[in-house]
């Protein structure tokens, strides 16, 4: 394999087999933070990435919420984009051909109003040959964003089962952190036939401008992401790892290789880089290098060996 920067370097194997799909390294860019890849392809060759989770798709095109859609918080940010996207057909026609030319895994993130809508989107995307489907039951910003499914264990199981029945590619379910018992929801996804779990989506949050006395976001509330949520995400990945046997894509506030390693120790097989891309367009490639450097320093030969290797007290 002629790939000096990824799978085989210094005798270190960064490759991860995840729900039947091979990833050249554990680093995946998170949905909603990377568009459909075009913008960051101006900065580096996207084929160095383990995978790309595309901007969340809905059955029909959506314009999203009016601005302001963003507010900064201490080491974090709120967003309320509201699933602006070209719709699943627009994605397949106009965005997927560009992504398919990149030698990396393409993960399609989908949100639906109904169980049937999730299933029909999954069917189209399976036929369009993306590598995986990420079922979004966790967007906090629109009522059609799936959160009404994501906070109920029974609904998560139902949606997962419906998507699985129409998919011939692996299905991952993206969980909301806005629940009481994350392990219960993860188990219901596994019971519904999910091949993997990804978590966390953003935490429902708010800011108010004290001078105007109005919420900063047009939508009043939004989703909190960035380093501020990292410890919450880590704890949830750790809990889910102990509850399920399917692999986990862990994300939420990961900024660098050390954060990524920490997330993997907690139980993640893959890690998602999201908000960090906004602060530094090179955050994802730097994270790959950071993981490699940790493994090299510790004399660990395979990235997969650190997943879940935290020694609990």
């Amino acid at each position: 394999m002629d790939d000096k920067t990824n799978s085989v370097d210094l005798g270190i194997d960064l490759g991860i087999d995840f729900a039947g799909v091979h990833f050249k390294n554990p680093v995946v860019v998170a949905s909603g933070t990377f568009g459909f890849g075009r913008e960051y392809s101006e900065f580096y060759d996207l084929s160095i990435l383990g995978g790309i989770c595309v901007k969340g798709l809905t059955a029909a095109k959506r314009l999203g919420n009016p601005p302001p859609r963003v507010a900064e918080t201490p080491m974090g940010m709120l967003n309320s984009v509201g699933l602006q996207n070209p719709g699943v057909d627009g994605f397949i026609e106009n965005e997927l051909p560009f992504l398919r030319d990149i030698d990396t895994n393409i993960i399609a993130n989908i949100s639906g109003n109904t169980v049937e809508e999730y299933a029909s989107m999954a069917e189209k995307l399976s036929d369009a040959a993306v590598d995986m489907i990420e079922v979004n039951v966790s967007c906090p910003n629109v009522k059609e964003g799936g959160i009404q499914f994501g906070t109920s264990a029974a609904a998560v199981e139902e949606v997962t089962r419906a998507v699985k029945s129409k998919s011939n590619i692996p299905v991952m379910v993206k969980l909301s952190p806005n629940v009481t018992d994350i392990a219960e929801i993860a188990l219901s996804a596994q019971n519904g036939g999910a091949d993997a779990i990804s978590l966390i989506n953003t935490l429902l949050a708010m800011r108010i401008d004290i001078h105007t006395k109005r919420p900063v976001l047009y939508n009043n509330t939004g989703g909190l992401s960035g380093p501020a949520v990292f410890p919450v995400a880590l704890r949830m990945v750790w809990q889910v790892k102990q509850a399920v046997s399917i692999p986990i894509l862990g994300m939420g506030g990961i900024t660098n290789g050390n954060d990524a390693v920490e997330m993997m120790l907690a139980g993640a097989s893959l890690v998602g880089i999201g908000t960090a891309n906004f602060s530094d367009p090179y955050a994802s490639p730097k994270t790959i290098e950071g993981i490699k450097s940790y493994l090299s320093q510790k004399g660990i030969k395979s990235a997969r060996d650190i997943t879940g290797s935290v020694e609990n007290n």
């Binding site: 568009g35 963003v70 908000t275 906004f278 367009p281």
Partner: protein, 253 residues
């Protein structure tokens, strides 16, 4: 190509109430940046998001930014010392299409600076109308005077220049002569009124918009602006599809 450029600060001066002029030196960036483009500037390790600041002029390898201290990020920038280095993601956005002569630039407050570079770069006869809240906030009157045939200053309270806003002098100019274009930057209500005045007289208008941003490169779609492009209602990205838009694309409702 937009990229991260480490730039040395060579000047950082308060030039009006809450307004700072920062000059940085970076030869590759200075060669790349076009009028109307902006930079997304990292404001220390404690703030997650960069701050979008327009490029107000370029001279040799020096890039000038003008910013208003509004929050923690711009406060951080205002405290930077000469010789320090800034992490600057630039040049971003589409920039102005340089107009034919004669043309008018209309700026309101902190919307004035990005028009300077456009007026410098465009060939031909330029008129500038620059509006400010009061005399203490007037900036760039000399800079515009050195490159424009005519510079009109307005202040809301009449403490400097013509009393009132930029619209009355703009209407007068448009009635007197046929202009090829109006380039404008400032508060949205001002831009809306300018667009109507000029477009009603068949003059093309380019607007430079401002919106809260995160990535600055078009990926996160938080800096949305409601537009109609080729008859299709869209949410355009101010950072990538703009910040400069033809006025007829903007949906003001």
């Amino acid at each position: 190509m937009a990229d991260i450029y480490l730039c040395e600060i060579i000047e950082n001066t308060k030039i009006a109430e809450s307004i700072y002029q920062m000059k940085v030196r970076n030869s590759p960036l200075a060669k790349l940046a076009r009028p109307g483009q902006f930079a997304n500037i990292k404001c220390g390790e404690e703030r997650l998001l960069r701050r979008p600041i327009s490029i107000s002029s370029i001279k040799n390898d020096e890039i000038t930014f003008i910013f208003e201290t509004k929050g923690e990020g711009t406060k951080y920038l205002s405290e930077r010392k000469i010789g320090e280095t800034l992490d600057i993601l630039a040049p971003l956005g589409n920039g102005f299409t340089l107009p034919e002569s004669p043309f008018i630039v209309v700026g309101g407050g902190i919307g004035v600076p990005p028009l300077l570079y456009a007026a410098q770069a465009a060939k031909g006869e330029a008129t500038a109308i620059l509006g400010f809240r009061d005399k203490s906030r007037i900036i760039f009157s000399e800079e515009f005077s050195s490159i424009c045939n005519n510079v009109l200053i307005t202040t809301d309270d009449g403490s400097g220049g013509i009393k009132g806003n930029v619209l009355a002098p703009l209407e007068d100019l448009l009635m007197e002569e046929k202009y090829e274009a109006v380039l404008a930057c400032g508060p949205l209500p001002m831009l809306k009124a300018i667009s109507k005045l000029a477009m009603d007289r068949g003059v093309a208008v380019q607007l430079s918009l401002e919106e809260r941003m995160a990535c600055g490169v078009g990926a996160c779609v938080v800096c949305a602006c409601a537009t109609i492009v080729n008859g299709i209602e869209s949410m355009s990205r101010v950072c990538k599809d703009g910040p400069v838009f033809p006025a007829e694309q903007i949906r003001w409702d």
